[in-house]
Symmetry: C2
């Protein structure tokens, strides 16, 4: 199923809702949604990544991400539509929920 | 235990040995050792990352790495000595051995 791209207005509204719930906000960069997660160590960071990886496979929606020790930098976008979709917001909310940060 | 930095000559020799065994070579960039691993899909890429993560914790020697779908870009260096050490070569050889590529 192809996800539809969101309008700029919809993206702003969804971003505000998303960031209401957490201390470190997601931000927009081009057609992507970005956030840095800072965990206390590598075990915590990779535990988080593993839970996200399993979810990503289930949803067939994969992040771009990098990791060094306790830090995980995430970029979300939907390649099909070359923009941010509901799938990205759903994945972002999942990450916030399980991060424990 | 602090690992000792290797001389440029030692690094060149070890790099040649390392790359003898695999198709896609590691290369030097500044004080780091880099390689891109290309897996067939995300499941294979993250499976590889998980095995490396467990090894990294055991050795207390962690990579910098990024992933998107089947691609894993790895950077190895030893922060203590600000250079490449035996630990980096051991980790690189482990990655090659388990990658199945």
């Amino acid at each position: 199923m192809k996800s539809n791209g969101l309008s700029q207005e919809e993206i702003s509204m969804r971003l505000e809702e998303l960031n209401d719930a957490c201390q470190v906000p997601w931000h927009l960069e081009g057609n992507t949604l970005k956030k840095r997660f800072a965990f206390k160590n590598f075990n915590a960071a990779f535990g988080f990544m593993t839970r996200v990886a399993i979810k990503a496979e289930k949803e067939d929606h994969h992040p771009e991400w990098s990791n060094v020790y306790g830090r995980v930098d995430v970029t979300l976008t939907t390649f099909d539509t070359e923009g941010i979709t509901e799938k990205d917001f759903a994945m972002a909310a999942f990450m916030d929920r399980i991060s424990g940060l």
